[in-house]
């Protein structure tokens, strides 16, 4: 099967407009006859559900949480990019497009990224109209800040809770449609399979997580908006329930899975504290606007700090190595995430790490507190020599900007970050890879769409900060509502699809069989035991730096662990009613397949790009070494039974508008 990305003709800036001018539309009366299933209610799923219902389609939305408001988009902290150029600092649609393609290390599809940049401004208009309380300046206009990998200030924010506010905006739009009966909301439901009828996606099998009942739901199209697969690492910044099951089930039914090895390891997370750790907490990238990252310049100081004999505040400026400022003078602490993460690992591997485990670097706000404090005493006409006052006023400014993040850090680590630098270390955060989709956001299964983090399309091999919220909302509010209409137009006379079709019965049976197997397995280890083991293989051998030997080992180890899992997993309770261990078992079963494909993809990509770093492919200075001649393509994997049998399909990436160069942030 040849991949057809269906990129419209025309110049890059005309494609989306031309496309919209020529697609099929469904008239308002006919939309009432069409059902759409949406799995996941984060920014992408929530905004899509609201918009499709608004247009007149009958939407059936599903989430595993107890309310759509809890989807993990809510945890996004820092901000959302938009090419508004309110700051007049040279931003434009083209520049956002360019930064995103470059930031993604030239592994994204140009046409999709340009469309994203084009609609970015509309997102801000939409959210403000919905009452999302974005940060404002004293004049009453919207405020912006900078994020990594850009030279302009284009990030809109709501303190450190931007994701929460945007999600609650989408949730409010959903609520309006739920109240009108246009969205039928299924909380505490998990999709466990896709139903394909005559080659088209026509429904899903879902488990009611409260009653345990297995349900059949039909629709004319199915939209997967179930987020990323970062939890394949067990420890990540994802929510505990975040899982890849919906995305993996469609893969097994024919949707190609693209670039699974592109995973973002976020540089500013709170370091691991012990074996009991259940998840990792992110500290927003926005902190890098004001925080300076450093490790001790001398090995003996690092050692003394690890042993508790010295404190970070004991070291003078000259004894500190602000390694990002040293290595990347132009971008300094605001280099993109992949670059910042690798630089932290490099210092810690060299022995300069600072906490008990040796896996942490400092993020220091002392300079920012001084700078803001001096500004405040000047503005207020106070005594600039009163050191205590300067610190007090500067602390207040920092608290106003990042207060909730500082509080979060204090609660977890039990240290006051206003007085002693934060400790941070990279952690798995976001997955750029995902279901392969064409320009219409449709997977290789007709009628099955994938939006937001669950697809692969816009971020290439590395996502820039504040771009995930932008993509989720762009897909849901402004892209899918057009493209799905074009697909549904021929179906207007079809009528409701019966859930008694043999395809529904067969899919339901397969789901029930799997559940029964788990319940009756009576093994000796809990689900978490296997999940943690998988996570350790992934982090050690498929993590921030990968090599051929490690990847080959990982593939063998994951396959063996999967076998052991099916033989020896213990799932208590019954299939009836609420059973959280059973939920975990069905999710981990899929992670155990995905993990192997992930390693296989990383092994085949003999280059380093973005979040994929192969030790064999690095420049002399340790920077990622791309191979555009051989690897400027999307790797889309077709399911053939086992991950080891997956077949590779290539979508060549053509760059007409951006020149491929070695990414430099120096």
């Amino acid at each position: 099967m040849a991949l057809d990305s269906k990129i419209p003709e025309g110049s890059i800036s005309d494609k989306w407009t031309n496309y919209k001018d020529h697609i099929n539309l469904v008239n308002p009366a006919n939309k009432r006859n069409l059902d759409v299933i949406i799995v996941g209610t984060g920014l992408a799923g929530g905004s899509a559900a609201a918009t499709l219902a608004e247009l007149g389609y009958n939407v059936k939305a599903f989430c595993f949480q107890d309310s759509p408001r809890r989807a993990h988009s809510i945890a996004a902290q820092g901000g959302i990019n938009a090419a508004k150029n309110y700051q007049g600092d040279g931003d434009s649609t083209f520049r956002l497009f360019y930064d995103t393609v470059k930031g993604g290390d030239y592994r994204a599809r140009e046409a999709n990224v340009h469309r994203l940049a084009e609609v970015s401004g509309n997102i801000i208009d939409q959210c403000v109209a919905q009452g999302v309380p974005l940060a404002r300046e004293y004049g009453g206009l919207l405020d912006n800040r900078s994020f990594g990998g850009t030279l302009v200030s284009r990030t809109f924010y709501a303190k450190g809770q931007t994701g929460q506010q945007l999600l609650l905006g989408a949730y409010s739009a959903m609520n309006r449609q739920i109240g009108r009966g246009k969205i039928k909301m299924h909380n505490r439901h998990e999709m466990l399979d896709l139903v394909v009828v005559d080659g088209k996606a026509r429904g899903i099998i879902a488990r009611n997580l409260v009653t345990g009942e297995i349900e059949r739901h039909s629709a004319h199209a199915v939209v997967i908006a179930s987020g990323g697969y970062g939890n394949v690492f067990f420890l990540s910044t994802n929510a505990m329930g975040s899982n890849a099951t919906a995305a993996w089930k469609i893969h097994k039914k024919g949707a190609f899975f693209a670039n699974p090895c592109y995973t973002q390891i976020h540089p500013t997370c709170i370091p691991v504290s012990g074996d009991h750790q259940s998840k990792l907490t992110l500290m927003s990238e926005s902190l890098r606007n004001d925080g300076r990252i450093w490790v001790p310049a001398k090995l003996e100081d690092a050692k003394a700090i690890r042993e508790g004999k010295k404190k970070p505040t004991d070291l003078y400026e000259a004894e500190r190595d602000y390694y990002l400022e040293r290595r990347y003078p132009a971008f300094g602490n605001l280099v993109p995430r992949d670059v910042a993460s690798r630089a932290a690992k490099e210092r810690c591997d060299a022995g300069f790490g600072v906490n008990k485990t040796g896996e942490a670097v400092y993020l220091d706000f002392a300079a920012a507190i001084q700078r803001y404090g001096k500004e405040q005493v000047y503005v207020k006409g106070l005594d600039a020599n009163d050191a205590e006052l300067v610190i007090k006023l500067g602390t207040a400014v920092v608290a106003n900007k990042y207060g909730n993040l500082f509080q979060m850090y204090d609660k977890i680590v039990d240290e006051n970050p206003y007085k002693t630098p934060m400790m941070i270390y990279p952690a798995v955060h976001y997955t750029m890879g995902g279901t392969w989709v064409d320009y219409n956001l449709q997977t290789t299964i007709p009628g099955c769409f994938s939006i937001g983090e669950s697809n692969f399309s816009d971020h290439g091999a590395n996502r820039l900060g504040a771009s995930a919220l932008m993509q989720g909302l762009a897909d849901g509010y402004f892209v899918l509502p057009y493209t799905i209409g074009d697909y549904l137009a021929p179906d207007i006379k079809m009528g409701t699809i019966s859930t008694d079709l043999p395809e529904f019965i067969a899919a339901e049976k397969a789901v029930k069989d799997q559940i029964e197997k788990f319940i009756n397995n009576k093994g000796t280890h809990s689900v978490d035991y296997f999940h943690k083991k998988l996570g350790k293989i992934m982090w050690d051998k498929v993590g921030m730096a990968r090599n051929e030997k490690g990847l080959n080992e990982a593939i063998v180890e994951i396959a063996a662990l999967r076998e052991e899992f099916y033989k020896d997993v213990k799932v208590p309770g019954t299939d009836k009613g609420f059973n959280q261990e059973l939920e975990k078992a069905t999710r981990v079963a899929d992670f155990l397949e995905l993990g192997e494909l992930f390693a296989k993809d990383a092994l085949h990509r003999n280059e380093s790009c973005g979040g994929h770093f192969r030790e064999e492919y690095a420049t002399e200075e340790g920077e990622a070494q791309r191979d555009d001649e051989n690897f400027a393509y999307v790797a889309a994997w077709e399911y053939k039974g086992k991950p080891s049998d997956a077949v590779l399909h290539k979508e060549a990436l053509v760059f007409d508008n951006v020149k491929l160069v070695q990414r430099s942030y120096k």
Binding site: S47, T51, D66, D125, Q165, M240, G308, S526, D528, P572
Partner: protein, 267 residues
């Protein structure tokens, strides 16, 4: 005259004993139709740096290995923002620390040898699903009744900077919007009132020009749904504000009362 203050932070040197031993008294209830009871579980090898939910993970792992059913509890983001975790710990919603959710509570807040009572959020409008898991869909239904601005999602609205909003109102609207919908306010209230939750949403929109247009209908509809769900009345005791993990202020209730009064007069 400023005192010379020590900058020595005692917490850096972790004086707490490692490996705490605890007695957990946990509410177990098979499902909504059956009666529940408190069951005692001793637990050992708990470290002060663990989160409260990580402590429950350890208990559950032990229960599974013993062939018992693990304790069901709601949780998801484990960083204090999704609002999924609940738990009434030693008589307080989200436990003894302030300004946090249960998932942000750490074991260093307890002492070796402590007995800890763990119960679900209790309210007529929050029926128990299993053990510590409750059904908070009544909160969703209140939002369906009016927790939105009726603007279509086409993106073809006015430019976001067309209407300046003074920073104070924008910040106050943000503070109200910070509600995570966890239900601690209801669980802490002797009347099981949802006033703080409803007032937060009403206030967010009432403070913004975009929200003023439907302000009258919104407050009437949301309050009417709140009453229909069986939440109790507000008698201004303020327990909700004390236990709210996001510091939602009682001022919001005062604002909603004003909104409600003026809407009732108009209506």
């Amino acid at each position: 005259m400023a005192q010379c203050q020590s900058t020595f932070d005692f917490r850096l040197y972790g004086f707490q004993t490692k490996n705490m031993k605890l007695i957990l008294k946990i509410w177990r209830q098979k499902n909504a139709a059956t009666e529940g009871k408190i069951v005692e579980y001793p637990i050992d090898h708990i470290e002060p740096d663990m989160s409260f939910l990580e402590m429950l993970d350890i208990l559950n792992d032990e229960l599974i290995m013993k062939g018992d059913e693990p304790v069901a509890f709601d949780h998801d983001c484990r960083e204090g923002i999704c609002g999924m975790c609940s738990l009434y710990i030693n008589g307080e919603a989200h436990g003894p620390d302030k300004g946090i959710t249960t998932c942000q509570l750490h074991m260093r807040m307890f002492k070796d040898g402590d007995t800890i009572f763990i119960e679900p959020f209790r309210a007529k409008a929050f029926p128990v699903i299993k053990d510590l898991v409750v059904d908070r869909s009544s909160f969703d239904r209140i939002q369906h009744a009016g927790g939105f601005i009726s603007v279509n999602t086409s993106g073809n609205t006015i430019d976001a900077n067309t209407i300046p909003i003074n920073k104070k109102d924008a910040d106050d609207a943000f503070d109200a919007a910070a509600c995570i919908g966890c239900g601690a306010c209801v669980a802490s209230c002797k009347n099981s009132s949802a006033m703080l939750f409803v007032a937060a949403k009403v206030s967010q929109y009432a403070l913004l020009p975009q929200g003023r247009i439907e302000a009258t209908d919104r407050v009437l509809n949301m309050v009417s749904q709140m009453d229909a769900e069986g939440f109790g009345n507000c008698t201004n005791t303020g327990a909700c504000e004390v236990e709210c993990p996001k510091g939602i202020s009682l001022e919001n209730i005062a604002r909603m009362n004003r909104e409600y009064l003026s809407a009732s007069l108009k209506g």
